[in-house]
Assembly symmetry: D2
Homo-oligomer: 342 residues x 4
């Protein structure tokens, strides 16, 4: 049994992590930390946990470090840097769900997040936690920067195609539609029911932080600088991201060429490429990324549709997948559940 | 391993049953029958099943009878009667999700369902599949009539109180709010998105079939005829029922008396009674029934709020719970998942 | 032209009032007051007003009193008491949308609202602004207490029946389902999209303030003390209330007797009684109250379904209807719009 | 008073047209035709019309022609061609809401709609009913082809920029998110509540008919062939379209250049261009098109967000606007209502 702790157990991603870990046969939850609700039971904050007796604690790095093999941090960006070195020094492995350890270059992080990075020295050893690309590095990583939700959805769709050279690296446009849980739990007027329901809005246009994360990984895939247009939208639903991606077809690439490039995923347990276009309800509740596409000869463009559950493959599920890899558990353990469709 | 077959695998309840059985460690799905989609894969109809290779078949009672220990029928009422005797004769056990085998008295069924009952002779041996009330009988049952969604929600809330005599049997009112999946999968204008969204409607007022099922069980609990007012409503969400139940407090019954009566559930894995009132999101996706209440001294009434997921505890999950009991598996096997809250 | 001012123009009810008044041919909006947004344009806060140039101002009782024939107060309860006497003294007529001037007895208000009433002396002259009951008194009123949303929906359904004696006054149960706009605009976690969507909850069980308002009016209608059970619920939609009401049929009252009692509404422009049960989408966006019912001989109960748009007939529309009556305008002016159904 | 008739009064667009015309001071509705519900009252099909006594009739071209100044056709494409010549010959003016009379070239229509055009000879005289572009031609038109919903939203956003040459004509991508009412009223499983709710899907990728309509008008604006990628999506809400549009900035065009190009709309009553990005709730229920944009120097692209209510500016409202122009009524008559925001 792997002893795990969760720091930030009562945000939406943290609570989803607790939910997945609660059904995971190979782990033992040693600590659940919540600054806002320390002293309460998790079931008091999220009544779906009422049948479990889980005490929420204050942060106590000493105690947690002594009891844990793996620590998940599910805090806002900038908040975990002060704690993580302590755990790494003790040999406790860390999976960080914030944006802090996803970057190779601190300057890029600082430009897009607009705060100084307080643990730059760890960026050299941290591994970008996208198993479909970095599985071998994740296996032995001490520190994993768990990918963002939008980047997971976009990179999985584009990475194999750029690598195979079937699409051009210039002119890529990523238009994403996300459920509201991606905005986190918080008392913001803009996320209140009456403001979100029966509406759609674009936000962070030409400036969303995830742009830089997507560009980093696509640049690595194509061996040159890739610049993309990325527009996230809020749609009235709770879970899920659907990204519609436009890219120039290269050298008369055909549908078969695209399928061939995606062949890289043939043994992946959590990526499904198919002729039919996916919808959010096909993946909600699961750790799957579903990808479909249309080759549009008329415009010379490939249109890809990629779907994930932002809380699972886009956050908590992928974090557990990374933990499974790091701890030599079956990679799908705790993540076998089918999406719930309804 | 228990060999199970599902007849009617592509309705909403049937698909949910397939989803739960797919994650159940103790069963082997031998046949999935769908009249409408025979020959296709389940993943073609419900893409959340894409990762599983499940062929949909036509009904073949011979073949299914030979291969199955338990057969689930998830068909409209009136449709399973012709097949069930065949299975029972071979010693195959049957769990029927329709209303056909929930009644002790065929006349009551015929009055409320307005069709003749074509297997009256089986009503004597069929067991009403509410484990919290009939667990011991279910254990050895050949045929289980799996309860309706509204009745499950209402009976679990009222049964212990009538039995303990802390509420009166006259003047009970059950006002239920249900998600749309309860109406099944079908091309009905009234269930189309634009007709349901941003609206609420009452239906089947003073005439819904489930009234008779509720009354049968409450009458058995209180040892006298119980007549209730039951009003179901459609609300714009997919899963879940919240029932608000009004009953006269008897003999100055106190909050403590109510809690004491509910003490009957103290070892039940799927019923949670608590001081705080439950909401649908506390149980959606789980096999739990969550119950809360307020004693209103001012009006002399008890107000109970009871919540279930109509597709799980109200249909497929309860069917699996019954199967677990019948087959001496752990009762919670395949049903441990917490509700998903988000 | 009637000169009107709105105090509290940026809450949900206030903004709806501004929207209705903006399309009203007989009024001139002289002042729109918003504490939170004074100095901004209304179109900056509610972009649907972008085409109108409406400045939000600070409260200035002198200036507003000088310019206005009618002042609408759309503030939280307890907040308007300090200002209203000033306006009344100047002969400016006031329509207050809070609970403060709906009561005949300050003690009832103080018990249910749990704060002292700071303008008790005005309760004698204030008129309960339900035109279908108090039209003549409203005509000459200086101060109107605009009814609550739940009371409007329930009283319109029950008042004629109690008056006619076709239902009993004991054992009335009002189970109401409301959209989220009723909770007002505010940054409350419980009203955030992810907490409301795909769920239903009961709240204020046996303790909601509107209970006392309903009881006051029903008692007046029946000539004796009426005590009701009232349970409000939050459902995932923006606008509208559907109330399901249970009452004992008296003296073998028939469907015809009920229709006869409702005959009182035959010339009412905003109340529709019909054989078919209404749904929220039939009235959303309109000032109508739609009422339907089923006589249930089996239980001896009448089940009434009553629907309104909580922001219109339940708040801003009714306030404008009252103003029309007070100012001898056509009662339906500005309120003719049909519900939008979609 | 203008005498108007509506053919197809019980589809969603037709019912919206009836709603708007019912509140229009300058028209008299002479006939409302509905094949499916002839003989019923409109209030029986859409209970929001209960207060109006409108009889639904069968098609009777003679009678309607004799009584009407203007006839609106709101039928599926291909269905109005047989009737329209009859009306035109009598001097009755026609506004057709289908795709049939939007095209200059019948071959384009036939390629994208995949049926023969049965009134090709009328394409020469029909006018594309986008007032912001063709107001003068509409004034005297006998036959107006009312624009599609997606084209209205996209063309209004792009037309001025192409005309001014501030964006390039190559590489335009239009990613649209639409509410479900756009799919019309019908018993389609894919539009049932449980299939739409909590999901998003792309459809008609690289093949949607509106592509050709958009391209026709953008080509005319830029004086050369324009080919676009257009992807419509279904999102879980009833009304509204938000289109996110990507286009290459030309010759270092600045924000000011874009605003200048949009200056063409400065006297338009129904188009609002603003620095802030619009959301669907800013226009729902109104005849407005709200446009905002971001100049992204980093990618050299302009990102435009354009919103309309698909049933109003995208269908019925625009049809009424066209009628107002044709009949020399005030252009905004019947269309002044603000969006309802909530």
């Amino acid at each position: 049994m792997v002893n795990v702790s969760v720091i930030g157990a009562t945000g939406y991603a943290g609570a989803e992590l607790m939910r997945i870990l609660s059904g995971h046969g190979g782990v033992n939850i040693t600590h659940a930390v919540s600054k806002s609700f320390a002293g309460k039971r998790l079931g008091d904050v999220y009544p779906n946990f009422k049948s479990r007796d889980i005490l929420l604690e204050n942060m106590d790095a000493e105690k947690i470090g002594a009891d844990s093999d793996v620590v998940f941090f599910s805090l806002p960006h900038g908040a975990s840097c002060e704690h993580i070195p302590h755990f790494l020094k003790r040999g406790v492995r860390v999976i960080d769900l914030s944006g802090d350890f996803r970057y190779r270059d601190a300057a890029v992080y600082e430009r897009w997040y607009n705060i100084p990075h307080n643990a730059k020295e760890l960026l050299g050893e941290s591994v970008y936690g996208l198993p479909e690309v970095y599985r071998e590095k994740i296996r032995n990583a001490g520190l994993v920067g768990n990918p963002g939700c939008y980047p997971t959805c976009a990179i999985l769709a584009l990475y194999p195609l750029l690598k195979a050279g079937v699409i051009g690296a210039d002119g890529i446009i990523i238009d994403s539609k996300s459920g509201v849980s991606g905005a986190g739990r918080g008392e913001k007027l803009e996320n209140s029911y009456c403001e979100v329901d029966e509406s759609v809005k674009a936000y962070g246009v030409a400036s969303h932080r995830h742009t830089s994360e997507i560009e980093q990984e696509l640049s690595l895939a194509s061996g040159r600088d890739v610049i993309v247009s990325f527009t996230p939208h809020l749609v009235p639903l709770k879970r899920g991201i659907l990204s519609t991606i436009y890219a120039p077809l290269k050298n008369g690439a055909s549908e078969k060429d695209i399928f061939d490039a995606y062949g890289i995923y043939k043994d992946e347990p959590f990526v499904i490429v198919s002729g039919a276009l996916p919808e959010i309800k096909h993946v909600a509740g699961s750790n799957r990324c579903a990808i479909g596409f249309v080759c549009d000869a008329r415009t010379g463009r490939l249109v890809i549709v990629s779907c994930i559950d932002n809380l699972v493959k886009g956050a908590a599920g992928q974090a557990v997948q990374n933990m499974n890899i790091m701890c030599s558990l079956r990679e799908t353990e705790g993540l076998e559940g089918l999406g719930w469709y309804l």
